[in-house]
Symmetry: C2
Subunit: 112 residues, 2 copies
């Protein structure tokens, strides 16, 4: 059973460093829907990558250069972006910031 | 075609009043994953309800009394909660606040 509790406080999850200046922790999730908090230091890079999961992300704070499928935008607090399955996407944190990434189905690789 | 653009700024969406003191606007969404911003005035109520969609929600600001499947908690900024399909859930805004609701599949009823 890999589902999160029904209620999750962020401190219940451990940070995982995923790249220099980039760390994530799991918020609520079940097999079909996963919410993840990702913290970035200024200049940190979420390198271009793709996965079969559909992703929608929200800029909670900071300012990011976001590239999805070759299209590039500067996003700020409150902005969101959507990545279809298998589309290459990546971010650069122009200042310290936080993204909320959501996925369907869940990222089994984040549970390992 | 009901998918949102790949990049969404919140002002691109119109607010819909859904109950006294409660309004929502759509952020990024496709058929399988939908992100929605919900704003609450102090004391506003998201009345108990259920739907077949799986839901994960994040408290972006404010303080909410959240009930999921009969279990009640006070949630604050950064906390999240998860509602399995068809489970009754509701919220009361203890102060002005914002939730980010995510659903799989999308809420077709929100697109009408």
């Amino acid at each position: 059973m890999t589902d999160s509790p029904v209620f999750v406080q962020p401190n219940q999850s451990d940070w995982t460093e995923v790249a220099p200046g980039v760390r994530r922790r799991l918020l609520c999730h079940d097999k079909n829907l996963m919410m993840v908090e990702v913290g970035f230091e200024k200049g940190a890079v979420g390198a271009p990558h793709s996965h079969p999961h559909i992703q929608v992300s929200l800029v909670v704070s900071g300012r990011f250069e976001v590239t999805v499928g070759g299209e590039k935008r500067i996003l700020e607090t409150g902005d969101s972006f959507r990545t279809p399955a298998d589309v290459v996407h990546g971010v650069v944190a122009l200042e310290p910031g936080v993204l909320i990434d959501t996925f369907t189905p869940h990222r089994e690789d984040f549970l390992a």
